[in-house]
């Protein structure tokens, strides 16, 4: 029997989702939607909005429910089978701690940001896409918490992530990134998060982190990660669609969008330095180097995307070539920084084993061998002599990205890079031309940055007078949550659990 003829996906989607909004008469549209004009973005015809993923609500719930059922079944199995014992070794947990402290709060922030954007656009298609994304992001926060909660029973540093979020110096890096976006208008918000972060740069966050988890025996994070990534594909297409829509609606939008791409490429790239450092240093079993990931996901995939956008008059983001110049360096510079500020970190640091240093020599070549390896070997000598190096002072951080100002000049890896921008009779310090440009473009915004070291000196951090009091104010316990990995409770517990495991038996006949 012939199948009854059904209407196609495009037509069905259009019938189900269009013509359901209206022009308000009881209040002017501009009062109902007060935020979508002030950024200067001109939209001539909202009906030209195209949903690339034609997902109706019933499909959305159906597929999301299936993902949840699969994910929680795997998390249950992980917990019941003591999955935490399958990680390569307890040093890997620093990657997980970085995630729950640094990234999970961003998922929640994204949930709020997209809820706001989902109310702000006067086009219904854009509103629905943002609302779905808001639910997705809340899902991500929840699934991460569930996945990591099991680890929290066995390893230190994770208990206080919500408290630390607004107080820890290194967590102001991700926090300020998102609050910069959330305090912008809806068009900039979606450009910065859906496009710049979730399209251009997401692969550099999720692919390494999640592959890293898979390589290091962390089934919980791997499963969560791939489950979330399927949501991310929708987010990515939303981002690309918003950017294309703005560029096609009016030529006056092009310079505004270009300025946002320049800003958010750079802010996203700086934030991802933490991920690169995780890849190179926190994974006992390496997936690929930061350098390799940058080459695949930016220099190949990212640049392909900008070639596509060039027909609108969009150019490659400003300072992208600096990112490529720095790819041999930033992870080593950042690890040394985290290592020395270990007394105020909610995750452990250490000097890598020789095998790992050899891997870095292979991946990074002469620059690593001449500039960074000797420093790490010196740290190791100090540790072995019972004088593990800690810097108990406070770093100067960049006024924009809030990373300590340790980066080096793009063309001279042996000279610190600092840019001083004077505004309203005050000197502000930035880590790079990229951040200095961002500051100069919106100085009234960045003079309001809440800079943790400055706040500590002002006595706003529980009145802490030294780094140990500051860590206590963060609810971190000395040398349990903070400090050197070697000899930590995480380390000692791991060795004890490994000793309890049955030795694997060979299948072959002893005598043969």
């Amino acid at each position: 029997m012939a199948k009854p003829k059904r209407i196609g996906l495009k037509e069905k989607y259009s019938l189900m989702t269009r013509g359901l909004d209206w022009e308000t008469t009881y209040q002017p549209m501009d009062e109902v939607f007060p935020y979508d004009n002030y950024e200067g973005i001109k939209i001539v015809d909202w009906d030209k909005w195209e949903d690339p993923f034609r997902l109706t609500m019933d499909s959305y719930w159906k597929y999301q429910s299936e993902k949840e059922r699969k994910l929680y079944a795997i998390l249950d199995a992980f917990q019941q089978n003591n999955g935490q014992l399958n990680i390569t070794d307890a040093r890997y947990m620093s990657a997980v701690k970085l995630w729950i402290q640094g990234i999970t709060p961003l998922e929640y922030a994204a949930h709020r940001g997209f809820a706001h954007a989902g109310r702000s656009f006067r086009g219904a298609g854009a509103r629905v896409a943002c609302q779905m994304q808001s639910i997705d992001e809340l899902r991500h926060a929840q699934t991460q918490l569930h996945a990591f909660s099991h680890y929290n029973k066995f390893f230190n540093g994770m208990h206080g992530f919500a408290h630390m979020r607004d107080r820890a110096w290194y967590l102001s890096i991700p926090k300020s990134f998102f609050e910069d976006a959330m305090s912008a208008g809806p068009f900039e918000f979606v450009t910065s998060i859906s496009f710049a972060f979730e399209y251009v740069l997401t692969n550099l966050l999720f692919m390494p982190f999640v592959s890293g988890a898979a390589y290091n025996g962390d089934m919980a994070t791997t499963t969560f990660g791939f489950s979330a990534q399927s949501d991310e594909s929708r987010h990515m297409t939303l981002g690309l669609e918003v950017v294309k829509f703005m560029l096609e609606q009016h030529e006056d939008n092009v310079p505004i969008v270009q300025a946002w791409l320049d800003k958010w490429f750079w802010r996203g790239y700086r934030l991802l330095g933490l991920v690169g450092t995780m890849m190179d240093y926190m994974l006992p079993k390496k997936v690929m180097s930061w350098k390799e990931a940058w080459e695949i996901y930016w220099e190949e995939n990212g640049i392909a995307l900008f070639h596509d956008l060039s027909r609108y008059g969009i150019e490659l983001p400003r300072h992208h070539e600096v990112a490529s110049k720095e790819k041999n360096r930033i992870t080593h510079e950042l690890w040394s920084t985290l290592y020395q500020y270990g007394n105020a970190l909610g995750l452990h640091t250490w000097v890598p084993e020789d095998e790992e240093l050899d891997w870095m020599s292979e991946k990074y070549g002469t620059e690593f061998d001449t500039m960074y390896r000797p420093r790490l070997e010196f740290f190791r000598e100090r540790e072995q002599a019972g004088e593990r190096y800690f810097n108990n002072r406070l770093p100067m951080v960049c006024q924009v990205c809030q990373i300590p100002v340790f980066f080096t000049e793009p063309d001279d890896p042996q000279t610190q890079c600092v840019r001083i921008v004077e505004w309203a009779d005050t000197k502000h310090h930035c880590c790079s031309d990229g951040c200095a440009d961002i500051f100069r473009r919106e100085p009234e915004k960045y003079v309001q940055s809440l800079i943790p070291p400055q706040q500590i000196y002002r006595g706003e951090c529980g009145g802490a007078t030294n780094i140990f009091e500051y860590a206590a104010w963060l609810h971190l316990e000395k040398d349990v949550d903070t400090g050197e990995f070697n000899g930590s409770p995480d380390h000692r517990n791991w060795e004890a659990w490994a000793a309890e495991q049955p030795t694997p038996q060979s299948n072959s006949d002893e005598a043969a």
């Binding site: 692919m207 791997t222 791939f226 997936v287 640049i303 596509d308």
Partner: protein, 90 residues
């Protein structure tokens, strides 16, 4: 030479027929496996065809089922009942 588009799936048995269909319908596509994931790169344009997937999976297939195992993609998306296309406009 055209820039590559890409699509990546979880490396599990549900995604396997989709991956096979893509490699069959897109002769220039190359699949790279890493733990838990298969990334397929293809110059310029890549199509996922419902008919081919149905051949491989042995049942009716809704292309939107891809959402369950999709990890990431790069390129402009166009979707209807029969094809899911990723392409650059360059």
């Amino acid at each position: 030479m055209a820039d590559n588009v890409f699509i990546a799936f979880q490396n599990n048995s549900e995604a396997q027929p989709i991956i096979e269909a893509i490699l069959e319908d897109n002769p220039s596509a190359v699949a790279n496996e890493s733990p838990g994931m298969v990334k397929i790169d293809c110059p310029g344009r890549l199509v996922v065809r419902r008919e081919t997937v149905e051949e491989k999976v042995g049942r009716d297939f809704d292309l939107q089922e891809m959402h369950i195992n999709l990890v990431s993609l790069g390129g402009n998306v166009d979707e209807d009942d029969d094809e899911f296309v990723i392409a650059w406009n360059t």
